[in-house]
Amino acid sequence: MSRKQLDMTLLVLAVAVCFALPLVITSPTYLQILILLFFYAYLTTAWNLVGGFAGVLPLGHSVFVGIGAYTSTILSNQYGVSPWIGMLAGGVIAAFVGVLIGKPTFRMRGAYFALCTIAFAEGIRVMIENIDSIGPIKINGPRGLLIPLKGDSFWNYQFMHKEPYYYIILTMLLLVVALTWFISRSRMGYYLAAGGEEPEAAQALGINVARYKLISMAMSCFLTALAGTFYAQLMLYFYPKGLLGLDLSFEIAFIALIGGRGTIAGPVIGALALRPLNEFTRIYLGSQLPGLHLVIFGTILILVMLFQPKGLTPPLARLYDKFAARITGEGGAK
């Protein structure tokens, strides 16, 4: 068996297991945990397009989740538009807002850019919390929006069981991972990496760094907003503090940093490592010490940054290389 065949076999196997899981795990609680795991893996993969490949650190991506959720919900609650269409509309608006935020802020580097995105995100959250309605559009301020139950209906993006949600988010995750895989191997991926690492050198090689960063920001925001609609339809209720707050933005960044920024598997590995931890600390310790999971996240982040500054993916990749070399009998697999 060659290395390529081994990679493919394992990949197909892993995907097949993911698709088969709901046949074994029927408890809605556990399914919900898995759904949220995929949801975070998806969000982080979308974030990684700009936060990983383009080498900047946006810390306000919850805004785009919010834009997705609010757009599709307002359109379906007040205008009867299917959330599937609202999802695309939310994506387009998020991409537009992302470019609007990115255009002036991409000039800044490092922590300044990160701070600026936090400021934008918090500003938008405070605005939403203080607006009851814009003209005919009901926003409902801090109380958030409720989606009325319409029963099992694909068109209305509502299901009485967890399985459809599971398959939707799994498909979205697979597609977005495939997209990043494709981008990282294309000219765009090379240009983003070059522009993120040495902008001046990249410009001298014919790369309009600012433009490529904006394109990646637009794509990332579009994809992030799609997950916002998913979240709204899964929970059927959301409010600004929970959805637009910094907790969500930071958790996305945590997952990326621990999993491995700028790698394809990183966000998925990060979500696999952190989400169960998050759920269980919340379930077992949440009542005594709320917020403890963030302390644990922080501790893990410090440890990972100290011992594996590039995240968990590179050491795992090396382990896999060794394993693959033994299976295929090839000495120096790369």
Binding site: Y190, E197, E200, A204, L205
Partner: protein, 241 residues
């Protein structure tokens, strides 16, 4: 035909005049050396030509077309590439990746970019390092990588900013051979260099600048005998002798 023409170029930074009223031209296929003491304005001149700074006054023409105020990435597409005095490799990536970034200028296909990058690496005898991380290279190889990246964009005019600084004498000889090889492939080379042996061996013509002004121009052997040049480098008492 002149591939590059600089007319009355002046560049101010606030109250400081880094380049003053400079005229310069490079013929197609030529190797032009630019020398001058530290702070003479050599790198500023390069940065003006490469589009990093727009000139304050004057015009720069590349292949007959005015390029003053154009951005670095546009100039690169026109066929003007440069290296940096302080090398700027994409350190976390492999050598091949670095060169492919340059090679993507003329193709959207990853496999074509890889072929092009391999071809350039072979020309620069760097192909045996292709899978190493750029940050792990020796200084000599980093300088070569810097040239390889620029060369992968298929430039007609290549600006080399001190690519021999910090090299051992044998490495300087290798680099001289490489740059001459580039010229034989039809690339016009404009080179800033401090190592006089290299300048003498390489250049068809040398331009000397001091305090942002041109003080001498001509064949390498004539320029080194020029009184102004000796003064600029060694101080006025030597010039009088």
């Amino acid at each position: 035909m002149n591939i590059l023409e600089i007319k009355d170029l002046t560049k101010h930074f606030g109250g400081l005049t880094a380049i003053h009223d400079l005229d310069l031209h490079i013929a197609k296929g030529e190797i032009l050396g630019l020398i001058g003491p530290n702070g003479a304005g050599k790198s500023t001149l390069f940065n003006c030509v490469a589009g990093v700074f727009p000139p304050s006054v004057g015009d720069i023409r590349f292949k007959g077309e005015s390029i003053a105020g154009k951005k670095p990435w546009d100039l690169c597409s026109l066929g003007l590439a440069r290296t940096f005095q302080i090398v700027k490799p994409f350190g976390s990536k492999t050598v091949l990746y670095n060169v492919m970034v340059g090679a993507f200028l003329h193709t959207g296909s990853t496999s074509k970019a890889r072929d092009k990058a391999m071809e350039v690496l072979e020309t620069l005898q760097l192909d045996h390092r292709k899978d190493q991380l750029a940050s792990n290279l020796t200084i000599a190889d980093r300088k070569r990588l810097e040239i390889a990246k620029a060369l992968a964009t298929d430039p007609e005019l290549l600006l080399l900013d001190e690519v021999m600084a910090g090299l051992r004498p044998t490495e300087v000889d290798d680099m001289i051979a490489i740059i001459k090889g580039l010229r034989d492939r039809g690339v016009t080379v404009f080179v800033i260099e401090h190592i006089m042996r290299a300048v003498m061996a390489l250049s068809d013509r040398v331009v000397v600048i001091q305090f942002g002004e041109k003080i001498a121009e001509g064949k390498p052997e004539d320029v080194t005998k020029d009184e102004n040049v000796i003064k600029a480098y060694l101080g006025s008492e030597y010039g009088a002798a």
